[in-house]
Amino acid sequence: MTSIELTHLDRRTTATAAREVMKRLFVGLGVLPFLMLAAMITFSLMSDNFLTSRNLINVARQSSYLTIVSLGQMLALISGGIDLSVGTTLAVTSVVSAMAMVASLAAMPDMVGLAILIGVFAGLAAGVAMGAINGLGISLFGVNPFMMTLGMSSVGFGLALYLTSGIPVQGMPEAFGAILGFGTLFGVPVPIYATAVLIALVYLLLNWTRLGRYIYAVGGNIKASRLSGIEPKRTLFKTYVLCSALTTIAGLMLTARLATGEANIGGSMPLESIAACVIGGVSLSGGSGRVGGVVLGAVFIGLVQNGMNLAHVDSYLQIVAIGAILILAVIADRVRLRLASEMTN
């Protein structure tokens, strides 16, 4: 009789304890790891091919481009702005680098390495130039980032089309694609390494450098940062240059993978990267956001798309699902915050 009651009690207590632990984890880690886990479980139930190392590496590689762009986007968002031109930056990079490679390969057919180098630099230059123009417009002329980058995305796309007259640029050296696009090291694709390095760098930038601190400050309260001796214009300019630099690197990696210069890539990048940031906990009003969250956000999006493909979800349904999932992710995060405020001694 009593014993039973005791066990009852025990169970109840252990149960509550477990719930408590879960709750703490949930609040501490944020919502994404759990969503990730949920997605993992669901999809591995829906398809046996999902939880294979091969597919997971596959997802990682596919997500690497979005991840890198999202890192750039994050900088813009933290600084209180936004970059809608990341898609076009990808395209411009792709087109310019491809054309440069082809041209210099034609000029000196035997110096493949040099041609690649030239192409890479040309692409970087073009992409970063776009970032610089964004930065100038936003910092110097005080143009609203949304409009500035929206305008630039249109300008850049037009130019890319004009350069290629809409036809993909072919004839890039095989080597380029072979290394940056398809190369693997210990069975892990090169893009993944590149992404890892960039993640680390952006982490350092934001948490261990003055510029990083300034980006947060300017995004958080531009007046206060001016009164603290920061020159917001400089900070903003640097932010957009960095953002475009990251995007450009993604663009080069993508070009290597496609082995052509395409004016027509990256259309969905701006919104997807912003989505990745937001579900990764970056505030659209600036001043806050962490690298870890953004990376998780980007990978989560990639994971869901991959999972739905493997699970043979109807395309129309996929469009609905991805939208719904994004919303739910944000709602879940709100719930988390409420819990957090309740969970007080």
């Binding site: 398809s47 091919n49 294979t52 091969r54 597919n55 596959n58 596919q62 481009y65 898609g87 890319a160 089309l161 290629t164 007259s165 809409g166 036809i167 993909p168 072919q170 694609g177 696009g181 398809f182 993508l254 993978r257 496609l258 082995a259 052509t260 395409e262 004016a263 027509n264 890539i265 990256g266 259309g267 969905s268 990639g302 798309q305 991959n306 493909n309 493997l310 043979h312 109807d314 395309s315 129309y316 469009i319």
Partner: protein
């Protein structure tokens, strides 16, 4: 629509994979049901308009008929090349034995195709065409020929010396592979005739976008004789012309066919539209895949004869070689 689609006359290129090499017309008949169960993956740029729905109809119908497993993936638009690549990777990861590819970019997937064929996964290039030499087979009438089809139709009506006519030309969204191909084909076909293209307007295939372009074109050129462009262009043009009472003055031509375009032709609102027999192309692609996987012999480079549907032959034209039935809902998986 159940009546068997074969035999059909198709053109076959030899040596294959070169649109300029000699064509021979052959009768195409698919093989019988495959012995072992097969799993085929189809990737298309998008499923947002009647053209690609027709393609979906073709591949899935054929898959059902031959009882092979099939997954159809759509990348969501012509700007999502990276996504198409990922989707194909995913599809292969989930165990597809062959890939039927409606490419977003003529060159952008060459790497992937090489990778796949090196893994022993045949890639059948259909509808749009790629430049890769690693594809196992092609089943397509390139959009260049569609453009040319529309072009020659007018050019014939207005040979040199017959008096100039003005054409406004709306190829579609700038930069998309099929658009640029169609554009080249069209321009090439009309040049050397009395047709002069006074206006080329790129724009999304949203009907409201095309509507605007058509209206502006009519404002800009008071004496147009032809409006040639995408299906939405033609549909929009019909409305504008009706309203402005220009229906008899300005003729409308679409450079590919959809149910509404066909209806327009029947109603004598649209002059003509070339058809690449999308459904047949799709069916042939599936059959090629089956043959390859069963290693039977197959035509490496086939494509239905391009047909131009106009107000004379519309009634006799076998519509379901080109479009899906009205009640068809896109199918994305065939078990």
């Amino acid at each position: 629509t159940d009546k068997s689609w074969f035999p059909v006359d198709v053109e076959s290129w030899n040596p294959p994979f070169d649109m300029n090499s000699a064509r021979t017309t052959v009768q195409y008949t698919p093989t019988g049901k495959p012995a072992a169960p097969l799993n085929i993956c189809v990737s298309v740029p998008h499923m947002k308009d009647a053209y690609w729905v027709a393609v979906d109809y073709g591949v899935t119908q054929e898959a059902k008929r031959q009882s092979v497993q099939m997954t159809v993936l759509e990348a969501g638009g012509y700007t999502n090349l990276a996504k198409q690549i990922s989707q194909i990777e995913d599809c292969v990861a989930s165990g597809a034995q062959a890939v039927i590819l409606g490419a977003i970019s003529a060159d952008g997937l060459n790497n992937l195709i090489k990778e796949l064929s090196s893994q022993g996964i045949p890639v059948i290039d259909f509808m749009n065409g790629v430049t890769s030499k690693d594809v196992a087979a092609k089943s397509l009438v390139s959009f260049r020929e569609m453009g040319a089809g529309a072009g020659t139709y007018i050019a014939r009506k207005h040979p040199t010396g017959s008096g100039k006519v003005k054409v406004a030309w709306f190829p579609g969204p700038a930069g998309a592979g099929w658009v640029e191909a169609g554009n080249q084909g069209f321009l090439k076909a009309v040049d050397g005739s009395d047709v002069d293209v006074v206006d080329t307007r790129y724009g999304d295939t949203g009907k409201e976008v095309q509507l605007k372009l058509v209206e502006d074109a009519l404002q800009a050129n008071s004496d147009l004789t032809y409006i040639v462009g995408t299906a939405p262009t033609a549909e929009a043009a019909i409305e504008v012309l009706k309203q402005r009472g220009l229906t008899d003055k300005v003729k409308v031509i679409s450079y590919y066919i959809t149910p509404s375009i066909y209806e327009g032709i029947v109603k004598k609102e649209i002059l003509a539209a070339p058809s690449d027999l999308a459904v047949i192309q799709a069916r042939i692609a599936v059959d090629q895949a089956i043959r390859i996987l069963e290693d039977k012999d197959y035509i490496r480079h086939a494509g239905p004869k391009l047909a131009v549907v106009d107000q004379e032959n519309a009634a006799s034209f076998d519509l379901y070689s080109s479009v899906a039935p009205a009640d068809f809902k896109p199918v994305f998986t065939v078990e």
